[in-house]
């Protein structure tokens, strides 16, 4: 006879092990996703401006650095730099490159668009078309006057790698036209790469796993339904 303590541990551990086993199996299947050729962005982008974000982090008031303009000429800024050094770049003419994503929010005289400059936008292309994961998205809100907004041909969305645009304009740390938001007001826009479809072909191992899980679920349901008609609740519990 198995001691009660061991029985209890077994009863408690079994479901834990079962859940762990199932999750491990799922994780394995997730890693079986086909490794597609990394879509390359064959563009010569301007170099990133030489600005140390660490030097801006402690500038809480933002006043001390305003007299030291960032050297933006001939270089591009990144959204990471802008968030780290908003005061330093406030009111400066800058160049910014990224993928136009989401929606074109039409307003009077122009439109807002989100332009991401993360690695998915500028290097490896959108997930889940590959497994080269590079973290979360980063980007800037860009105001495009009507003539510039009309140039866009496609926005980044599920299954679409949006237009890669090079924007030249003025950076606003607190744009009054956006309720004090951090914005880039575009004056020029060049499409460096037009939007393209991203391949997300059917993941066969995952499809197989789906079929197995449906089969398991329907079997469990059938067995439970069949036995519950014949069997009352567990006698231990009466």
């Amino acid at each position: 006879m198995i001691p009660l303590r061991r029985r209890l541990l077994r009863l408690g551990l079994l479901p834990v092990l079962l859940v762990a086993a199932v999750l491990s199996a799922v994780a394995t299947v997730a890693e079986l996703a086909p490794v597609r050729q990394t879509p390359s962005l064959d563009l010569a982008l301007p170099p990133v401006v030489d600005l140390d974000p660490a030097g801006c982090q402690r500038d809480h008031d933002g006043t001390g650095l305003l007299d030291r303009p960032a050297p933006t000429s001939g270089h591009r800024i990144t959204s990471e730099l802008v968030v780290a050094c908003p005061a330093r770049l406030d009111g400066r003419g800058v160049t910014y490159v990224g993928e136009a994503v989401g929606d074109l929010l039409d307003r009077e005289g122009g439109a807002w668009v989100l332009v991401n400059d993360d690695d998915y936008a500028l290097e490896v292309g959108p997930l889940p078309g590959h497994r080269d994961r590079r973290g979360t998205n980063t980007g800037l809100a860009v105001w495009l006057p009507d003539p510039l907004a009309a140039q866009l041909t496609g926005l980044g969305r599920p299954g679409t790698w949006g237009d890669i645009v090079e924007v030249t304009g003025v950076l606003h740390r607190t744009d009054p036209a956006d309720g004090g938001g951090l914005t880039l007001r575009a004056e020029q826009l060049t499409i460096r790469q037009h939007a393209r479809h991203v391949d997300d072909s059917l993941h066969l191992p995952q499809l197989l796993l789906a079929a197995i899980s449906v089969l398991a679920a329907s079997s469990a349901w059938t067995i439970r339904r069949h036995t519950s008609r014949r069997r009352p609740a567990h006698p231990d519990t009466k």
Partner: protein, 502 residues
């Protein structure tokens, strides 16, 4: 003190109830799976079907092997609820894991726990290209968690016996109607009415903001769920700043405040008892803390010279403050800006707001306005007692649904939970500080955000964050959502299984 070991029938009962939770989760995955099929997002569809299939299998197997008519006691209830959030979030992680947008199982679990606990911290990678159906599923985890996984089970798979134990064990103290299943259904009815009204309002304002058509509707539904359940996920990486619209922000503010109101207060308002708004201790407490902290935020922002216009102060300062105080976690600017550009005072006020949280019996996290109010009343009571002559009896009352006398036990309980929250906030911050990569203010901000189930971030939460810290945040979200009691009960139960006597 002797600890009694639970028997096999106790574990059987717990497993049986957990099976019901798994079945409830399968329904949650079924809705976006249908959306995925309609939109032709086949990989998302199969990911959701895998998740739903595994949940159904667990649920049906537990019902087959563990079905029992043993009544649920208080200790069972607390253990079931504590485990429901752990096991439920692990199962809810399956579609995220298969989506290709999470780095590993821990990331997927983090996302699921954050969604279900209505925290809103996210480690989803390349969110701006995430499929529509998977993004909808993210937001639906807020809905299931906000209304309570257990509440979902109660309402959909109403079990009747012992339901009250689960309800209270989940940290919901207000039993609105005499019957617990009717209470759960009332909560769903409130949510459904707000869903219709809130989605229409959001769709209208989004349309005015230039986002119409079916995408506008999709954004509206997701935003409604995240706002009303005080969750904080948004369809895009830029949170609410994406929409550049003051009217959208106003509608979201109303929904966030509605979401942070207790369902008991909703019930009074639905019954036409509007005086409850002026008498209720929680409403008063929330008003006072929001006013004080809002003033500090505005002062801090104005002093730092960042925002000078009234529109800027309102749209950045007040929105962020209320987003923090209601436990929602919507952001109107990049989180990093709070550290790099907002000075010191405004972020400190936001941390305090996050820590205090919304109302008890709502979807908000944090200490809760009721406990803050009771603690303040208890301090005032003690001062009064000192000032009164010897032998005089001081009686302090407060209004929460009806007039109640402030008893020592209630005051002690409120202050104990308050202290536990503070200890949890500090513990999470200390773990982050061990890595030496962040300042104390950043570490505290992120820790409070996780433990109070808010979701605002200054950038520590990221797929590349240290694993120990990620696990710490997962545990903080879990403990914060359960308000400690159920989590402690689970630990006690595990000790009893191993070391207890029969």
């Amino acid at each position: 003190m002797a600890v009694f070991r639970p028997g096999a029938d106790d574990l059987r009962l717990i497993g049986y109830q957990l099976g019901k939770v798994a079945t409830g989760l399968s329904l949650l995955m079924a809705v976006p799976a249908v959306v995925a099929v309609v939109l032709g997002e086949w990989n998302a569809a199969t990911a959701l079907v895998v998740g739903a299939g595994i949940c159904v299998t667990f649920g049906q197997l537990s019902e087959w092997r563990l079905r029992t008519s043993k009544p649920l006691t208080w200790s069972h209830g607390t253990v079931v609820v504590a485990l429901a959030w752990l096991v439920g979030s692990a199962l809810a992680a399956i579609p995220f894991l298969l989506s290709g947008h999470t780095g590993n199982l821990l990331d997927a679990w983090f996302e699921a726990m954050s969604g279900l606990t209505t925290s809103g911290l996210s480690v989803i990678q390349d969110l701006d290209h995430l499929s529509y159906s998977m993004n909808l599923y993210r937001h639906l985890t807020h809905f299931a968690g906000g209304q309570g996984i257990v509440i979902v089970v109660l309402a959909v798979l109403a079990s009747g016996s012992g339901a009250g134990m689960l309800y209270v064990a989940e940290g919901r103290e207000d039993r609105i109607l005499p019957n617990i299943v009717r209470t759960a259904r009332f909560i769903f009815m409130v949510a459904a009415v707000y869903l219709v009204v809130g989605t229409i309002a959001l769709y209208g304002t989004l349309h005015l903001a230039g986002l119409g058509g079916w995408r506008g509707l999709w954004h509206a539904v997701n935003l409604f769920v995240a706002a009303f359940d005080t969750g904080g996920f948004t369809p895009t990486s830029q949170s609410i700043g994406y929409y550049h619209s003051a009217t959208v922000e106003v509608v979201l503010l109303v929904l966030m405040v509605a979401g942070t109101m207790s369902f008991a207060l909703h019930y009074h308002l639905w019954a036409g008892r509007f005086r409850e708004l002026t008498r209720n201790l929680e409403v008063r407490s929330l008003l006072v803390t929001a006013t004080v902290l809002g003033t500090l935020t505005l002062f801090g922002l104005a002093r730092s010279g960042v925002q000078s216009s009234a529109a800027g102060l309102y749209r950045k300062g007040i929105f962020t403050l209320l987003s923090a105080h209601t436990g929602t976690g919507f952001a109107v600017n990049a989180g990093g800006l709070i550290v790099s550009d907002w000075g010191v005072l405004a972020p400190a006020a936001i941390v305090l707001a996050m820590g205090l949280g919304g109302m008890a019996g709502s979807t908000a996290g944090g200490v809760k306005a009721l406990r803050v109010g009771i603690t303040a009343k208890a301090i005032a009571h003690d001062i009064r007692r000192i000032l009164l002559p010897d032998g005089a009896v001081a009686v302090t009352t407060y209004h929460a649904g009806h007039k109640r006398i402030l008893r020592d036990q209630v005051a002690r309980s409120a202050t104990t939970v308050l202290l536990l929250y503070v200890a949890t906030y500090l513990a999470g911050a200390l773990v982050a500080l061990l890595y030496g990569r962040w300042e104390a203010s950043e570490a505290l901000f992120e820790s409070v955000s996780a433990a109070a189930n808010v979701g605002l971030s200054v950038g520590i939460v990221d797929p590349s964050m240290p694993r120990l810290l990620q696990v710490t945040y997962i545990l903080q979200m879990w403990v914060g959502r359960l308000e400690f009691v159920a989590a402690f009960a689970l630990v006690g139960y595990l000790v009893a299984v191993v070391r207890g006597r029969r």
